[in-house]
């Protein structure tokens, strides 16, 4: 019996992870690590988080079998883990409630967050409202346009939304700007990091807060007759994926597949598929992982129809799982994701987030490969309400496009 891969503590996952940050942030990260280590073993923290998960988020999230969708996926059995049904519409709330509770423990009164699709921003604004914290969300200007409704949502929840106009004006630049705010305001402010990336303790901590997805799903699968043959999730920074993978890491017969955003296709060079695209390792946003970069280590801008996957890095634990071969990472193009998006809408009456549609596209491909004997568990990480405009434009459903 080899050592368990579950709940790896960090800061390193093999060669990946660590803490590559300015000295100014070291004290805050140490303080956060310390607070988290204490909270982890404090039954009161566990109780409060479980209560919020049940009474606020609506956990456990159900699983839904998708037979009409599955008919297009080689007839394999396809089961959806419904994180889309969570309060605020995605898995992001699981992480944010944990980090907001920690913020209170740290005695800090303000939270900041970066957001791509706006789901993590909305979740952060929600948790801040619930717990009486001040909240500022940084969002790339490009994304504030792509996800205008989520900007309004965050404002309605009382958050300040700052459009970021530096660099590529997307998620990576929003993260840069959040770091800049943090360095300046670290005494009063906690950074609610939205994905399982960044400097230690974030990759391990965010994973721990998202582990519940896989813990529930594994039990739900056993109730329905046994472990799945594969678990599939989309990967931006990788929090929903690592959240659903973790409980299955030691089930060596269960294939784990992360679907990265293939954008316009790997060969086009316009994508966000860090691992599947064969990127080199480097340091970005505080940890060592695979990143899209040029020969000089300058970050290359990613491309994806999905704002939440449009990130040139990936969480270090995924880099590790890819490296040791425990998980596989596939690239799913914009077109494949949108086809899966439409298929789930039409066959099951479920409107998925475009991010999650990348996982659905992976399930179609895998189902066709494995056939009717296979069971595939899909992380439906979020709902697509925020994406209606993008999808309507993609499918040419808007009355007339203004140029």
């Amino acid at each position: 019996m080899t050592e368990s891969l579950q709940a790896a503590p960090g800061p390193y996952f093999g060669d990946f992870g660590g803490r590559f940050v300015p000295e100014a942030l070291v004290a805050a990260l140490d303080e956060l690590t310390d607070a988290y280590e204490k909270a982890k073993v404090d039954p009161e923290f566990e109780r409060e988080l479980t209560r919020l998960a049940r009474d606020y988020t609506g956990r456990p999230s159900i699983v839904t079998e998708a037979p009409r969708f599955a008919a297009h996926a080689g007839g394999a059995r396809i089961i959806l883990k419904r994180e889309d049904l969570n309060h605020t519409g995605s898995h992001k709330i699981n992480n944010v409630l944990g980090q907001a509770l920690l913020t209170k423990r740290l005695g800090k009164t303000r939270v900041i967050a970066e957001t791509g699709a706006g789901q993590h921003g909305v979740a952060s604004a929600t948790a801040a409202a619930l717990m009486g914290l001040e909240c500022t969300v940084y969002m790339g200007e490009e994304d504030t346009r792509r996800q205008a409704l989520n900007v309004a949502r965050m404002k309605l929840l009382g958050a300040t939304v700052v459009p970021v106009t530096s660099g590529s004006r997307t998620l990576k630049d929003a993260i840069n700007e959040t770091y800049r705010d943090w360095v300046a305001n670290v005494e009063t402010t906690n950074y609610l990091f939205g994905t399982a990336a960044g400097p230690h303790p974030f990759p391990a901590m965010v994973r721990d807060f998202q582990r519940v997805i896989g813990v529930e799903a594994r039990a739900q699968m056993l109730e329905r007759g046994g472990l799945p043959d594969a678990v599939i999730a989309c990967v931006g920074g990788g929090s929903n994926a690592i959240g659903i993978f973790d409980a299955f890491l030691d089930d060596s017969d269960v294939r784990l597949i992360g679907c990265e955003a293939g954008g316009l296709g790997l060969e086009s060079g316009h994508h966000a598929a860090t691992i599947a695209g064969g990127a080199r390792a480097g340091v970005l946003h505080g940890s060592r992982s695979f990143i899209l970069q040029d020969a000089d280590g300058q970050t290359i801008e990613s491309t994806s129809i999905s704002a939440g996957l449009d990130y040139p890095g990936v969480g270090p634990e995924h880099a590790f799982l890819a490296d040791i071969g425990r998980a596989e990472y596939w690239a799913v193009t914009d077109a494949e994701a949108m086809e899966a998006f439409q298929l789930l809408c039409r066959t099951e009456g479920i409107l998925p987030a475009i991010e999650s549609s990348h996982a659905l596209a992976g399930a179609i491909k895998l189902g066709r490969e494995l056939g009717p004997e296979a069971t595939i568990l899909v992380s439906l990480s979020g709902r697509g309400d925020k994406d209606v405009e993008t999808a309507a434009r993609w499918f040419g459903m808007l009355p007339e496009e203004k140029a």
């Binding site: 660099g167 300046a184 670290v186 280590g297």
Partner: protein, 266 residues
């Protein structure tokens, strides 16, 4: 003893702080940025920090971001830093390269150190790397006699101050405030205490940067620090003047103001 520490100690012998000027290589282009660095030396900067533009500069404010972004758009490469270093050293001043970690890692730490030595550079300043994760670089640097300058911040604990000082050579860079680069109306009140604490933790030389904008700031900081580091206020001279002669004239005026400041401090 290196060119860098000699220069700091020479300023100290004159009863003043050294003036350290930062400019990013490649803005507005490589040759002009090198000429601007030389102009700074001629106008009274003691030491030049050659900045390597980076796509994700989390410790830089709007001014340096703007110059770095423009430099990258125009195709500046990491290796261009060595061209600028050589120009500075030929003009008679020590040069240190300020770079975020990933460009150095991707260039290859050994190769970077070799090329820096070949260009006559004295060492590096690493704004987003702490000694905890800099082992590979530190080995390459010390094998070649290069200085490695780490930062301390007002948030650094006593333990961190001791740790950072123990791994730093050349000088310790004390961040005057919690924040990013950029011009400020005043220099952070925490700076003087941080310098004292850093010295108490064993640092021989402590220079202060972030927010130093005017001759008056340079005078105030020069009263207690071994060096005064100025970036954004100098970069702005280049951003505001497209014409090279105008830009260099503005730069010389600014450097003269700052050089007067460090000379009237004590």
């Amino acid at each position: 003893m290196t060119f860098l520490t000699d220069r700091l100690d020479a300023a100290r012998a004159q009863g003043r702080a050294a003036l350290i000027g930062y400019l990013p290589v490649g803005y507005p282009d490589v040759e002009r940025s090198a000429r601007a660095m030389v102009a700074m030396v001629e106008a009274g900067v003691d030491i030049v920090e050659v900045g390597v533009p980076y796509s994700d500069p989390v410790l830089d404010g709007a001014t340096i971001q703007q110059a770095a972004e423009a430099a990258l758009q125009r195709g500046v490469r990491v290796r261009d830093a060595f061209t600028a270093v050589k120009a500075v050293v030929d003009a008679g001043a020590p040069a240190v390269v300020m770079s975020y970690a990933n460009p150095i890692f991707q260039y290859g730490v050994e190769r970077f150190a070799d090329d820096l030595v070949a260009a006559g550079g004295s060492g590096v300043i690493l704004p987003d790397l702490t000694p905890d994760v800099a082992g590979e670089w530190l080995a390459a640097a010390s094998a070649r006699g290069l200085e490695t300058i780490f930062l301390v911040a007002p948030s650094s604990t006593q333990e961190r101050l001791h740790y950072t000082v123990a791994h730093t050579t050349g000088f310790v860079y004390a961040a005057s405030l919690m924040g990013v680069t950029g011009e400020r109306a005043s220099v952070g009140a925490a700076a003087e205490q941080l310098v004292a604490d850093t010295r108490a933790a064993g640092a021989e030389r402590v220079c202060v940067g972030l927010g130093v904008t005017t001759g008056e700031h340079a005078r105030m900081v020069g009263a207690y620090a071994d060096g005064v580091i100025v970036g954004s206020a100098l970069v702005r001279c280049l951003l505001e003047h497209e014409d090279e002669d105008d830009a260099l004239a503005a730069l010389r005026v600014k450097v003269a103001e700052l050089a007067d400041g460090v000379r009237s401090a004590r």
